[in-house]
């Protein structure tokens, strides 16, 4: 390396300057000539028949350009929003896929379901006219709560989904699992709820549709994590325009956390309407609208049983889960509670047999889909709560029980009982590192010190695993995925040796403009300032699947490595020509081509220049130019994992919990930029602690959203969180060229059970055995009161 900016360096971010100076370009910052503004008329009812929609008054209002309803889009043949993963029932039949029109047709199925679109010359006029659209509803009984959806005789959200089931799916070996329970010395049982969350990136969703009549070409600017996927879905399923007539741009995007993966009605509608009205159409959600239209996350109810032998070794696991899908199938909603959840139920443990059943349920709520972690937090929470309960039931120390069951390094590759094969890891190492980081040896002193201040201190542990970079395409396809799971990259070496790379991944906070430049810097031996990273534009980037599931470095970075290798190889041929040697005798190192064992060298820049000014060039055998593209389809998932430790203090008088210590040790594979990796862990931890203590989307039984604003939905603030001690123990992924695994979701997966386990630990002396998420002060106070009453009785 001629620079210290390669893989492993804490390079400061290239993208920061524009954000720090207020010069970012987010969708809502864009103003196009002659643009109009859209606002959506949304259902205030959870479930109702639409008798009639009267747009007369709205159309007559000042500034209104057009009003569209479900009938208009039906007449135009606009397709419904599709689901990207077909799940099959136990009997092999396909899941139920009800229509999901962009504007409601005949029925509304959740509060916020869009019924009409108003377009006006100003935002204020569009919003004012929303109130003038008259809708005659026939209000129906609704399913607001997951558990009510599967009760006998429940109202049907979709007539075709009997019992409100989308699918009834399973994985694992029921007979072997029954046998394991039959011989178990101990059986531990637990009922759990995984609370529903709102992703809430601070930038609300926004979209601008533009139509160029001369070229018959559409452009959509949208807050997306994966613009190519949106273009694919719009081309093939919803807008029905060929891909060369549609450009999708995701410029600066203010956070996503999964919620900006999906194809939403609003971005489709502005694109469609821009052609209808002949002017650009812009829409920006306000926060209240985001709460009732962005896909939510989690929302499971589970019953779990763990079988152990007399020595505390796990024999088997049985899980039965109800998963809320909301009113419609969101883009990847079906895959989250199945292939991203149940396949993770072995956790980091050596578990001989598992059987899991998942019933996915329609309810009159906002669709549920992937949110940071997506299925994996639900699995980790279930397992880690079970492990703690098992330890208490068996009278074994919680750390010791985990040590007895963690997969040992020599067992890799480890085939789980639920389809996955873990390639590598060292769960003992991360456990020990985390214990050291939190100084567990002196925990008792801290507990005593807390007690002096009248506080109950608790210690919580979670050893977890996740699966990132979902792949390979062929296997995912066999399991029902309707898209490929590869990634693409182009490396364009400019004539004077600077480099522009084009990646199909998208950065909305992850810092790709820096980390991808570091990969180039490392391989080509140049400073990161000589590298520009282009992402987020279907017209500039050949293809891509975007950024989700902690895949960007593992899959996108690998595609980049492949393209860089091609560039280096072509450069060798050019260098061989210039140095009058054979290409096989040329090595490339630190930005220099050299005839091995000699001092005959050519700098990379000279090779680039020669490629574009081929005066002395092997033109008969080699094309000019130095630009290469590559696609990379992973052979397997990657498997980051680690150990998260938490100490809490509880005020026994009020029930207020405070997370006072968080120490984690993750194995995220090779680290490209430790500063960015730590930052990703911090953000995940905040969302994980948010789930454990603060956050929950609440619906009442009638399907009314009762906390749809930041006044009521508690987002963690700076004063709600402690500093985080973050450590890493690296085992390199064995099947991708970088050895990376992924870091985006670890915090959100590992920490929620550690927090709850710590709270239960603090309250165990009082007789409390269970607390659900979010562990609010009142819940804790009530648990204390109930335990006191029990003891008294």
């Amino acid at each position: 390396m001629t620079t210290n900016q390669g893989i492993g360096a804490a390079v400061l971010r290239k993208e920061d300057r524009r954000f720090l100076m207020g010069k970012g370009q987010y969708v809502d910052d864009m103003v196009l000539p002659n643009q109009t503004y859209a606002a959506f008329v949304r259902s205030m009812y959870a479930h109702a028949k639409i008798r009639r929609v009267d747009t007369t008054a709205a159309l007559a209002a000042p500034g209104v350009v057009a009003v569209f309803t479900g009938d208009d889009i039906a007449a135009d043949g606009l397709g419904g929003l599709p689901c990207g993963w077909l799940i099959k029932n136990k009997d092999g039949s396909p899941m139920v896929e009800p229509a999901h029109p962009a504007l409601a047709q005949g029925k509304v199925r959740h509060v916020g379901d869009p019924v009409a679109m108003v377009i006006a010359t100003s935002k204020a006029e569009a919003r004012a006219a929303v109130g003038l659209v008259e809708i005659d509803y026939d209000v129906l009984p609704a399913i607001g709560l997951l558990a009510d959806g599967v009760k006998p005789g429940a109202v049907l959200v979709h007539d075709e989904a009997k019992g409100n089931l989308c699918y009834d799916w399973h994985i694992g070996d029921p007979a072997a699992t029954d046998a394991a329970f039959a011989k178990a010395a101990h059986v531990v049982e637990l009922d759990l709820t995984n609370n529903r969350l709102a992703p809430n990136p601070i930038e609300p969703r926004a979209a601008i549709g533009v139509y160029d009549i001369a070229a018959d070409h559409h452009t959509l600017y949208t807050t997306s994590q994966n613009p190519h996927v949106i273009r694919l879905l719009m081309g093939a399923f919803t807008l029905h325009v060929p891909e060369h007539k549609l450009r999708v741009v995701a410029p600066d995007v203010g956070g996503g956390f999964g919620s900006k993966i999906f194809h939403y009605a609003e971005e489709l509608m502005v694109t469609w309407a821009a052609k209808k009205v002949g002017r650009p159409v812009k829409w920006t959600a306000d926060r209240s609208e985001a709460f009732m239209s962005d896909a939510h996350g989690r929302d499971h109810i589970s019953h779990a049983r763990l079988a152990l032998d007399a020595g505390g070794k796990i024999l088997g696991l049985q899980v039965s889960t109800l998963a809320n899908l909301g009113a419609y199938l969101s883009t990847f909603g079906s895959s989250v509670p199945t292939y991203l959840y149940a396949t993770l139920l072995s956790g980091p443990y050596d578990m001989p047999t598992i059987y899991a059943e998942v019933k996915a349920v329609f309810t009159n709520t906002v669709p549920v889909d992937a949110y940071r972690g997506a299925g994996r937090p639900e699995a980790a929470y279930l397992l880690e709560r079970l492990m703690d309960k098992a330890a208490r039931q068996l009278g074994v120390d919680r750390i010791e029980l985990r040590r007895r069951n963690l997969i040992r390094p020599e067992q890799f590759p480890y085939q789980t009982a639920v389809a996955l094969q873990y390639d590598t890891g060292n769960y003992q190492a991360t456990l020990e590192l985390a214990l050291k980081q939190i100084d567990h040896a002196s925990y008792d002193q801290r507990k005593a010190e807390s007690a002096k201040r009248g506080k109950l201190r608790g210690f919580g542990i979670s050893t977890y695993i996740e699966a990132c970079g979902i792949a390979p395409s062929a296997i995912a396809g066999a399991l029902g995925a309707r898209a490929g799971l590869y990634e693409a990259a182009t490396v364009r070496v400019n004539p004077t040796g600077s480099v522009t790379i084009f990646t199909g991944t998208h950065s909305h906070g992850q810092g790709h403009e820096t980390t991808f430049a570091q990969i180039v810097a490392d391989k080509l031996g140049m400073p990161v300032d000589n590298v520009d990273v282009v992402h987020g534009d279907t017209d500039r980037i050949l293809f891509g699947m975007g950024t989700y599931g902690s895949r960007s470095a593992a899959v996108g970075g690998s595609a980049l490595i492949k393209a860089l290798d091609k560039v280096i190889d072509k450069g060798k041929k050019i260098a061989a020509h210039l140095l009058e040697a054979s290409a096989g005798d040329i090595e490339f190192k630190d930005g220099t081509y050299r005839v091995i064992g000699t001092d005959k060298v050519k700098a990379f820049g000279e090779i680039a220049f020669t490629a574009y000014v081929p005066h002395n060039y092997p033109i008969e055998t080699l094309e000019p130019g130095l630009e290469e593209s590559a696609y990379y389809d992973p052979k397997n998932f990657t498997y980051p994992g680690g150990c998260h430790l938490v100490e809490v203090e509880i005020d026994p008088e009020t029930g207020v919990p405070e997370v006072v210590e968080v120490a984690i040790a993750d194995d995220v594979g090779t680290i490209i930029n430790p500063m960015i990796v730590d930052g990703q862990a911090h953000g995940g931890l905040a969302q994980g602690i948010g789930q454990a203590l603060y956050e929950e989307v609440r619906y009442d039984a009638e399907g009314q959203l009762t906390n749809g604003s930041f006044m009521d939905y508690c987002m963690p603030r700076a004063a709600d969180l402690p500093n985080f001690k973050v450590g890493n123990h690296v085992t390199a992924c064995t099947h991708n060229p970088l050895g990376v695994k992924g870091v985006g979701e670890c915090g959100a997966i590992g920490v929620p059970p550690a927090v709850i386990n710590a709270i239960i630990d603090a309250l165990t002396p009082l007789g409390v055995t269970d607390i659900s998420m979010p562990a609010t002060p009142e819940k804790i106070w009530r648990a204390i009161q109930a335990a006191k009453a029990n003891k008294g009785a």
Binding site: L12, M21, G24, G509, A718, L721
Partner: protein
């Protein structure tokens, strides 16, 4: 309609707008200063924080008409001559931003704190930032950045 005369980032402006126009709308839509962001509609998130006469306020919770005659500073007015303000530089140095959306408000809030409390403790920083939500960083590096930025401001850098 209202006619509003104010200074924004040391430059005088006259804005003709509806009386209902919020300060953030005047900045974003009329002056095209889009560094000030809107992340909520209930005055919680703080992405729209600017300084009015030197004090941090939520520009979504103030009418443009109320800013008549005031001096407003937005994130665009903080750096001088292309040189980052010490607080901006500290956010970069300590990775205090990820997606960048809350960042302008966070920085405007932090600079107000450090003008009043030149060397704030971690506790003071965390409590002062109650009016600013970040979903990316978990605040860990923001707190570090604010304290480092305070040192930079003390140093007059």
């Amino acid at each position: 309609m209202a006619t509003i005369k104010l200074k924004v980032n040391r430059q005088a402006h006259t804005i003709e707008c509806a009386s209902t126009t919020l300060l953030v709308e005047a900045l974003r839509d009329h002056l095209r200063l889009t560094g000030t962001h809107v992340g909520c509609d209930t005055s919680q998130c703080g992405a729209c924080t600017v300084h009015v006469d030197g004090k941090s306020v939520k520009s979504c919770t103030m009418l443009a008409a109320e800013a008549d005659g005031t001096e407003v500073t937005t994130i665009e007015g903080l750096a001088t001559g292309g040189e980052l303000h010490p607080m901006q530089a500290a956010f970069r140095e300590h990775h205090g931003l990820q997606c960048g959306f809350c960042t302008p408000g966070m920085i405007m809030s932090a600079t107000d704190l450090c003008k009043r409390v030149p060397d704030p403790s971690e506790h003071e920083v965390r409590h002062w930032l109650e009016g600013n939500l970040c979903r990316c960083t978990g605040y860990h590096n923001i707190v570090k950045a604010v304290r480092a930025g305070a040192a930079g401001m003390r140093g007059g850098k």
